[in-house]
């Protein structure tokens, strides 16, 4: 790794962003811990929850990453009409609020779903989605798109010159270019997904089938909401941090050092296209698995969309503003951290993934409450917390690009005497535009679907779309809720797609 002899960008924005992340993750945890009366340890049920949490996260992350390899590979080396649209569309499941995604999955795999209708027609026994495999299925549905996108970026980061060289030397691309790339970024992708699955609870509970499918996050929820046992919540959040840190250490040990070096950003030309049938199958299977549930969500929601009450549209506008603010905050933090290029950045990038959203919300509430009515800050806190929660994804996608810019262009930049802003605008941003656009889109969409933080802070006037959707369900308006879910899906996807598109458009070609 290059040292900072030639650093052009100042360090303070990165340090500042790092402090914000630490304050929102470890700081909020400390706030909860300080208020706690400590009188409880971990019960046997908690240990069972820890085992289940780790096991399902391992299996889910392994499957998501492995299945993403052929899909990303196929997408990296095939050009076809609608490819860009498909790449964007495949990102949709990751952006969905849990309940919406689960309902979509059930429409396909559920007891009364399409799959079972087909099985019954064939005279085959029904398939039950409920249980360990249901949890894994849902997590793969959520995370396969993310894994595919992150791996795809790995493929696209291999300089075109390398392929040309490999072709000239008649060397196998798989062994000399693709495998080293996978070794370098695969473990990181696995880790990100492992951590996401580690902190889930609504999916695990709904599809897990019962108390066997208890996660640590549910135990935190119970401790906070039902027992008001802040000590136990803090302890469990600490356990979750510990699990995540262990996972991070292991993944770090297994990832190889990135060996990319500067190419000239040409469009990739491949001489080794391999079997088009296999690639076609990989893409088609992934598309069917990821898009069919979305189609069901659209079909269910469409009939009622015109009849949605006016309050929903206000909530939608509020959600979009929060999402855009969140995306902006997220990119500023990510670029600042990325340019800092310290070893700390990797650790800071893991923190939000390891944190419990509930504990962050509760801690932030405790910190804010003595000074300001939390309802006044609901939307601001939601934007900030969600920007932080999305940070790991953005960092993960831009860090290699920034590293590459630094390795290849910092000498040039120093020679030309670029100031920090010119350096950022002329050299860095165009080269990280694509992953940055993707990351900003992700941040916006995740913030749009957030329920945890807003639920704790929101007063009556700050209703966001997901909250409005839940309230519709609570008032028996399931059809209206389905339409609100569709609206949420449409808006999340649109903000994501717009950012993603802007990123690609401004990418240096």
């Amino acid at each position: 790794m290059a040292h900072r002899a030639l650093a052009i960008a100042p360090r303070w924005p990165g340090i500042l962003a790092g402090l914000v992340v630490v304050a929102l993750t470890l700081g909020t945890l400390a706030a909860v811990a300080l208020r706690a009366e400590w009188d409880s340890g971990l019960s046997t049920a908690d240990w069972a929850a820890i085992r289940f949490t780790v096991l399902q996260a391992l299996v889910s992350a392994a499957l998501s990453t492995l299945l993403a390899v052929p899909v990303a590979r196929a997408l990296a080396r095939r050009r076809f009409a609608g490819r860009d649209l498909l790449v964007t569309l495949l990102g949709a499941p990751f952006l969905l609020p849990v309940i919406v995604a689960v309902l979509g999955l059930l429409a396909i795999f559920g007891r009364g779903g399409v799959l079972n209708a087909g099985l019954a027609w064939l005279g085959l026994p029904p398939f039950s989605i409920y249980g360990f495999h249901g949890v894994v299925l849902a997590h793969v549905f959520f995370n396969l798109p993310l894994a595919t996108r992150l791996l795809l970026q790995g493929w696209l980061a291999i300089p075109a010159e390398r392929y040309r060289l490999a072709a000239t030397l008649n060397a196998p691309v798989g062994r000399f270019l693709e495998w080293p790339m996978l070794r370098a970024i695969g473990p990181g992708v696995f880790l990100v997904i492992f951590l996401i699955c580690l902190t889930s609870f609504a999916v695990a509970l709904t599809l897990g089938g019962g108390p066997r499918a208890t996660t640590v996050e549910l135990a935190i929820y119970q401790a906070l909401r039902f027992d008001f046992d802040l000590g136990r919540a803090a302890l469990l959040a600490g356990v979750q941090f510990g699990l995540c840190a262990t996972g991070a250490l292991i993944a770090w040990k297994f990832s190889a050092q990135a060996m990319l070096s500067g190419g000239l950003d040409r469009t990739i030309q491949r001489w080794d296209k391999g079997s088009p049938v296999r690639d076609g199958l990989a893409i088609a299977a992934a598309a069917a698995f990821l898009l069919l549930p979305l189609v069901m969500i659209i079909l269910r929601g469409l009939p009622g969309i015109a009849d949605l009450p006016p309050g929903i549209w206000q909530a939608a506008i509020r959600s979009v503003s929060v999402a855009l603010t969140s995306a902006l905050l997220c990119i500023v933090m990510a670029v600042s951290l990325g340019l800092w290029r310290s070893g700390w950045v990797t650790a800071i990038g893991f923190l939000p993934l390891a944190a419990s959203g509930l504990v962050i919300g509760t801690g932030a509430f405790l910190v804010v409450f003595p000074f300001v009515n939390p309802a006044r800050l609901a939307l601001v806190v939601t934007a900030l917390v969600n920007a932080t929660l999305a940070l790991p994804f953005v960092l993960r996608s831009i860090a290699p690009a920034i590293e590459e810019v630094h390795t290849n262009f910092s000498r040039l930049g120093a020679t030309l005497g670029f100031g920090p802003l010119a350096w950022l605008r002329l050299v860095v941003l165009p080269r990280i535009a694509q992953p940055l656009g993707f990351g900003a889109g992700l941040a916006a969409a995740l913030s749009m679907g957030d329920l945890g933080v807003i639920a704790l802070f929101a007063g009556d006037a700050q209703e966001t779309l997901p909250l409005a959707m839940y309230r519709l369900m609570g008032a028996y308006r399931m059809e209206a809720a389905a339409s609100a879910a569709l609206l949420l899906l449409g808006l999340s996807f649109t903000v994501f797609a717009v950012f993603d598109w802007v990123g690609r458009r401004h990418a240096a070609v």
Binding site: A45, A48, I99, V102, L103, L106, A107, G110, R111, G112, Y130, F201, A202, L205, T206, L207, G208, G209, G210, P211, R212, L218, A219, Y221, Q222, L224, R225, F226, F228, P309, G311, T362, F365, L366, F369, P370, F371, V372, N373, A375, R376, A455, L456, A458, G459, D460, L467, Y470, R471, L472, M473, G474, A475, Y476, R477, M478, A481
Partner: protein, 329 residues
């Protein structure tokens, strides 16, 4: 008048300045989400009360009943809440223990199936938990019969939802020490356990299960609001556990008179007549006009089960352990 008086000057100047312009007193009522939706009782209650009180009634939402209590505990004595509306009897013991509540001081003729003598918490509505299924399908007559049948049900997790906790209490109240074996027998009927009521009810309507844990009054929603008579509640002969929803006055309120007025209003005809077709529960005091048409079609359990607040608090941890053990096999 605002209640932002404890704000440190630096942070609070702007807020106080805007607050000082408002002259009407503000009554803050903490409640659960579905109460304040435009189909819930909230809007009608707000309009009716503000007509009489020359005040600004503000609802503050916090998830469900349990989240409501947690929110209050987070805020502690400095809470801005004047009234907390939406706890149930499984939560009142813990709520009382916070010491944040004052006696309600209201004497009213309530129409609950049981006597009510809680000095701190006043009921505003109630209902019976029940499994809601489709009309025409076989309906078991009690828990053991359900357990022996092939019927598939969705329930809610008692660790994250108040109906889920209600079912635990139901089985415990009806079967006492037999509860673990009831749960063991029910295990294969349970399709899945959801985090909350909304997810479970959604799964049931989507055909994922034959029945869902809800209320005897749920079919009234379908009948009255959607003219759909296809949903029925299963009548169980061991009795049905009740959920009594209550409100309490926060001891540290800066609007004690308004808070008292609101509690009295809460058991009045105006408030109570809004409840059946907005909250889809039974009113705590039947309005003079009676219950809306359609409610007469609902099942009326022969036996009402309800543990006192202290019994419920004492039974909770054991019941939870039994439930978890039986369903983890």
């Amino acid at each position: 008048m605002t209640k932002a008086t404890y704000l440190p000057a630096a942070a609070g100047l702007a807020l106080c300045a805007t607050g000082a312009l408002a002259e009407t007193p503000v009554l803050q009522v903490y409640t659960y989400d579905s109460f304040t939706t435009e189909w819930g009782p909230g809007p009608a209650v707000e309009a009716a009360f503000e007509e009489t009180c020359a005040c600004d009634l503000q609802f503050v939402n916090a998830g469900d009943g349990a989240a409501l209590l947690a929110r209050l505990q987070l805020e502690g004595p400095r809470t801005e809440a004047d009234i907390v509306l939406g706890l149930d009897t499984n939560l009142t013991a813990a709520a009382r223990e916070t010491g944040l509540f004052a006696p309600h001081g209201v004497t009213a003729d309530l129409d609950l199936p049981i006597g009510w003598e809680d000095p701190d918490f006043l009921p505003f509505d109630w209902g019976y938990f029940a499994f809601v299924g489709n009309a025409g399908a076989a309906a078991p007559a009690n828990m053991p019969e359900l357990a022996a049948s092939d019927a598939k049900i969705v329930i809610q997790d008692p660790r994250s939802s108040t109906p889920g906790l209600g079912l635990l209490m139901w089985v415990k109240a009806a079967y006492g020490d037999e509860a673990p074996s009831i749960w063991a027998d029910l295990a294969d009927n349970i399709v899945t356990v959801t985090p909350g009521w909304s997810e479970a009810y959604g799964l049931f309507l989507d055909g994922e299960a034959d029945a869902v844990l809800s209320y005897t009054t749920s079919p009234a929603y379908h009948l009255i609001a959607e003219e759909d008579a296809s949903k029925v509640a299963w009548a169980f002969d061991e009795g049905h556990y009740m959920q009594v929803e209550v409100a309490g006055k926060v001891a540290g309120t800066d609007q004690p008179a308004l808070a008292d007025a609101f509690l009295a209003f809460m058991v009045s005809d105006t408030f109570q007549s809004v409840i059946p077709t907005t909250n889809w529960m039974y009113p705590a005091a039947t309005p003079e006009a009676g219950l809306p048409e359609g409610f007469e079609t609902l099942i009326t359990p022969e036996k009402s089960l309800l543990m006192t607040a202290d019994e419920a608090a004492a039974a909770r941890d054991t019941a939870l352990d039994e439930w978890r053990t039986a369903l983890s096999q």
